[in-house]
């Protein structure tokens, strides 16, 4: 059980560091969703299913969605670094 918890915490902390260090902002938003999902699994382990559901829906779902929408509106949503903006296959 402790190895599971240690792996979970290490994954979440690694994703949190990746949010700060990644250059591509869309990847940083994805890493923020991973952090929220890791925290939601930790809530399940800590016997708090209501809070886990809220964190998963709101943190990973809604927060990731509004961050990605804001990125698209700012014009910073690029799939690769150096990709041309604008024409992308839908």
């Amino acid at each position: 059980m402790i190895w599971f918890a240690a792996t979970l915490v290490a994954l979440t902390l690694g994703a949190a560091l990746a949010v700060m260090l990644l250059r591509n902002l869309l990847a940083a938003v994805a890493a923020a969703s991973v952090v929220s999902l890791g925290v939601a699994v930790m809530f399940v382990v800590l016997q708090a299913p209501d809070v886990a559901m809220t964190e998963a829906v709101v943190g990973a779902g809604l927060s990731g969605l509004i961050l990605a929408l804001a990125l698209r509106r700012l014009g910073l949503a690029r799939l690769e670094i150096g990709d041309a903006q604008g024409e992308r296959d839908a």
Binding site: I2, A32, D50
Partner: protein, 154 residues
């Protein structure tokens, strides 16, 4: 479960909060500040739930047919439910402001945007922008401006 699981989770919660706050303080990009805010909020909520955990206790939901067992503390869970929703509201407003800053000043670098805002405020107030970071010329204490030719006006 042993007591070292508690240590692992506490390290995780404190680490997340510190990474989030460090990101907010050290980063110059406005969007990364909002991301760091999200991480700091997740860490703080985890810390609250950790305070309510009991060994060998179940979730605070009564399943019919089973007698009441030892349950974890429901009060921090209710508070964290509120905190998570408030957190996403704050993030939505912060993103709206970031979008407006980008529309108005054309940049997302915090230092450049702050300088542009300061210049606009100075212009609107009629104050000449004191751009120079150097010390003003002249001896200390500065001479009184009354009888000086040209005075101190720029």
């Amino acid at each position: 479960m042993s007591a070292s699981i508690g240590l692992v989770f506490f390290v995780g919660a404190i680490g997340l909060s510190l990474i989030g706050i460090a990101g907010m303080l050290l980063s110059n990009h406005l969007f990364r500040m909002v991301l760091a805010l999200a991480i700091a909020e997740a860490g703080a909520n985890l810390l609250l739930i950790l305070a309510g955990y009991r060994w060998d206790a179940v979730a605070p939901i009564l399943v019919d047919g089973q007698p009441a067992q030892a349950m974890v503390d429901p009060v921090p869970q209710a508070m964290v439910l509120t905190a998570i929703v408030i957190g996403v509201g704050v993030q939505a407003l912060a993103l709206s402001l970031v979008i407006r800053v980008r529309q108005r000043y054309g940049t997302l670098d915090m230092r450049v945007a702050r300088q542009c805002m300061q210049d606009e405020l100075d212009e609107a107030a009629g104050v000449t922008p004191g751009r120079s970071q150097e010390r003003p010329a002249g001896g200390r204490p500065l001479p009184t401006p009354i009888a000086e030719a040209g005075g101190r006006h720029d």
